[in-house]
């Protein structure tokens, strides 16, 4: 696997891409895990390692501090903490990976939200000695809220609990019950020692009782995309292509990235919010004509009728078109330093459409630690997660976030200075209502309808 002596063959054969995020408290060993994944997949280069060694010596450290590999900013190195999301890249024979490396500090919930928003998998780290703590529940809640399809619980530092199965089993059971109660569809628990290398890349010799995959093996085999047959197609129009040249006098194509589902030539479609209907006459996938195209392909769609369609419109199959609305009930994570208040005028960016909006109400603020709801907080401050009611100036073709991460998500933007205020998810906050561990039957909810 990654110990192959032929890195060229190894990296060149990788075909698919998996985006995943890591989450862990400050001392859970996240940097060590990330360092080991990068190192064992030969993604740390000699010159980068030399730079880290030199910097470590310069600080009087005896061994190279691998955190310096990932802490790219002056302020991070000075303070010895990670303050911002960084994206890292590595490859194995089976797959390419984009890792959103998110800081673990409580005050950086927004960073985990940022990392999780594009992730197909989240790795939540737990220290085997401490078990499930508040921060673990917070990470699980964010993964559930963002509807990350796959969650890995990495129970780290097993070497410090004598590789004892009961320790792992108890933590895995508690976490799985909690995450399942939030509707996390798939949880894989893996006992590891990032420091000693147990079950990260190579199977552990110390834990015969564990028969599951290593972290890397799981990352390599988890589905990176989903069966789209049950997903409703959504195509936000980004840009209208009209060459008006001698060669293409009448070409009018609607360019965009398919947000969910698949589009087919000949399909009856409705354009929202106008409600006009037409039929797909052709699909161009970046220069090649195709009969079918699917998310997340960037394509150009041509229709049989010359309709008035522009950036911000949404094309959807007539049979499954969303109902436009001006009233949005959503969960938001507040990401700006200034507060979000009831009555505030904002801009709402949904797919390719940005509209004026007003915050009508903030019915509750969520405490991630215990998922309790605090009614009518009046405002949300940085890193708060809360329910909001928003009225928009124009109708939006909005889906529930549960049905589509792409067409159910939006940003709230400060119209005065352009600051991104909040990350919004339309509809219900969690896939399942919170239950106590005792009430949970342990079976994961049906994945049907989840679209990534």
């Amino acid at each position: 696997m990654t110990t192959s002596t032929n890195p060229s063959a190894e990296q060149l054969s990788a075909t698919t891409l998996l985006r995943f995020a890591t989450a862990g408290s400050v001392d859970d060993g996240k940097s060590t895990l990330v360092g080991r994944l990068l190192h064992d997949s030969k993604s740390i280069f000699t010159d980068q390692l030399e730079a880290v060694e030199q910097a470590s010596i310069g600080r009087g450290q005896e061994t190279p501090d691998l955190a310096l590999l990932t802490d790219g900013l002056r302020a991070e190195r000075e303070q010895g903490i990670t303050i911002d999301v960084a994206y890292r890249y590595f490859a194995t024979p089976r797959r390419r990976f984009i890792l959103a490396d998110t800081p673990g500090h409580v005050q950086y919930t927004r960073n985990m939200v940022t990392g999780a928003s594009t992730a197909e998998l989240a790795v939540v780290l737990v220290d085997a000695r401490n078990g499930v703590v508040e921060q673990t529940r917070r990470h699980a809640a964010v993964a559930a809220l963002l509807r990350v399809p796959h969650v890995v619980l990495a129970v780290n530092k097993m070497d410090l609990v004598d590789y004892a199965e009961p320790v792992f089993a108890a933590i895995a059971e508690e976490f799985t019950a909690y995450a399942a109660s939030l509707g996390v569809p798939e949880i894989t628990a893996i006992p590891i020692s990032a420091l000693a290398g147990d079950n990260v890349v190579e199977p552990s010799a110390h834990m015969d009782w564990y028969g599951g995959p290593t972290v890397l093996e799981h990352l390599e085999t988890v589905p990176a995309s989903h069966d789209l047959t049950g997903c409703k197609a959504r195509f936000p129009v980004q840009y209208v292509i009209r060459p008006q040249t001698a060669e293409h006098p009448d070409y009018r194509g609607y360019a965009g990235q398919i947000a969910s589902g698949a589009l087919r030539v000949g399909e009856a479609v409705t354009v929202l919010p106008s409600g006009r209907t037409s039929t797909i006459a052709g699909i161009d996938v970046l220069g090649q004509s195709a009969d079918i195209a699917w998310a997340p392909q960037s394509v150009t769609v041509r229709l049989t009728d010359d309709l008035d369609i522009s950036r911000g419109d949404l094309i959807a199959p007539t049979a499954h078109a969303p109902a436009p609305t001006q009233d949005v009930l959503a969960t938001v994570c507040h990401v700006a330093d200034s507060a979000l208040s009831v009555g505030q005028r904002v801009l709402l960016k949904h797919t390719t459409r940005t509209v004026k909006a007003i915050v009508k109400d903030i019915p509750s603020r969520l405490t991630l630690d215990d998922l309790s709801q605090h009614p009518a907080p009046g405002q949300l401050v940085a890193n708060d997660i809360g329910r909001v009611v928003i009225r928009t100036a124009e109708p939006l073709a909005l889906d529930a976030y549960a049905d589509s991460r792409r067409t159910g998500s939006f940003l709230l933007i400060d119209p005065a200075d352009g600051t991104t205020l909040a990350a919004g998810m339309a509809g219900d906050a969690f896939a399942a209502t919170a239950r106590t561990a005792a009430e949970t039957d342990g079976t994961a909810p049906d994945e049907t309808g989840w679209d990534f």
Binding site: G72, P223, A255, P296
Partner: protein, 311 residues
């Protein structure tokens, strides 16, 4: 039915895109977002592989219409002639509009002073930022990739720059889903990095797949070079070799293309795209570690330059 994507085999669903298709689709989405939301975008074009790749993706994104962006080349005055010839050829072929910001003109006018070490890469920042202000560009595409360097790993796809073109890494907008926030005040602009998620290997594999033509110096050739700071540099009027440095003829190629004063060649016999890809995949050095002098100046050289407005 015909499909235009490479469907992959294995454990994934039949709708999985290959990693190159996924990266291509994402980059095209970014180009179209900028076209839809900005008034005066421009592509930074150096004639290097990353900017050539950007142009290729932009051409695909808007086909059969023309690319709705002009190009801006920051000319250090120490460019490889093969690269300038390539630049002019591409501009003519696609009927593009090229702006040139010239470091040499700034030096000749007394607005910039030559550095004692002769490096001109750090001098590009002023002509670049003044060029942006002068033409009132509001979105500036750069070919920067997060895998290149640890400060770039922290860079957003849409990166807001103030009226002085400064990057403040602690005040970056969180980037959520694929919802890029390009709002900016007059005088500010947004740097856009459509290749953020590509690695050097992805770039080469895509160039091979799409059969994109490159300047010939990317492939192994006999060249007169001399050694300075562990790198093979090409002699020229820019200031080399010194008396103590000897010129020899070697079989080399370039992994990156930039200013002649700080871009080194690597020993190589890779004359084809296939051979280059095999060589890159086996290399234990990053392209910058192997061939860029300016990044070796300090632990935070790139961050510091980016703060000042460098791309």
């Amino acid at each position: 039915m015909t499909t235009a994507a490479t469907v992959t085999e294995g454990t994934d669903s039949p709708f999985a895109l290959s990693h190159l298709d996924a990266l291509e689709s994402e980059a095209v989405h970014i180009f179209r977002e900028v076209a839809g939301e900005f008034e005066r975008p421009v592509i930074l074009f150096s004639g290097g592989k990353d900017s050539i790749l950007m142009l290729h993706l932009a051409l695909k994104a808007f086909a059969p219409a023309a690319v709705p962006f002009s190009l801006l080349h920051v000319d250090t005055g120490h460019n490889f002639p093969e690269v300038l010839a390539y630049r002019d050829r591409v501009v003519a072929e696609h009927g593009l509009r090229l702006h040139v910001a010239s470091v040499q003109e700034y030096i000749d006018a007394g607005k910039l002073r030559e550095r004692p070490d002769g490096l001109r890469n750090p001098l590009q920042t002023v002509p670049l930022t003044e060029g942006i202000q002068q033409h009132r560009f509001d979105a500036v595409f750069g070919g920067g990739r997060r895998d290149e360097e640890k400060a770039r790993a922290k860079e957003r796809v849409f990166s807001l720059r103030d009226e002085f073109s400064q990057w403040d890494p602690r005040r970056q907008r969180p980037e959520l889903w694929q919802l890029y926030n390009g709002r900016h005040a007059p005088g500010e602009h947004v740097r856009v990095f459509p290749l953020s998620n590509w690695t050097e290997l992805d770039v080469w594999q895509y160039i091979e797949r799409e059969q994109i033509a490159l300047p010939e110096i990317y492939f192994a050739h006999e060249r007169e070079v001399f050694k300075r700071s562990g790198m093979w540099l090409t002699p020229g009027e820019w200031g080399g070799p010194k008396d103590t440095e000897t010129v020899e003829t070697r079989l080399v190629r370039y992994r990156t293309v930039g200013d002649m004063s700080c871009t080194g060649a690597v020993d190589s016999d890779a004359t084809t795209l296939d051979a280059v890809i095999t060589e890159i995949a086996a290399s234990r050095l990053t392209e910058r570690g192997a061939t860029r002098a300016d990044d070796k100046m300090s632990e935070a050289a790139m961050e510091d330059r980016k703060r000042e407005g460098y791309f």
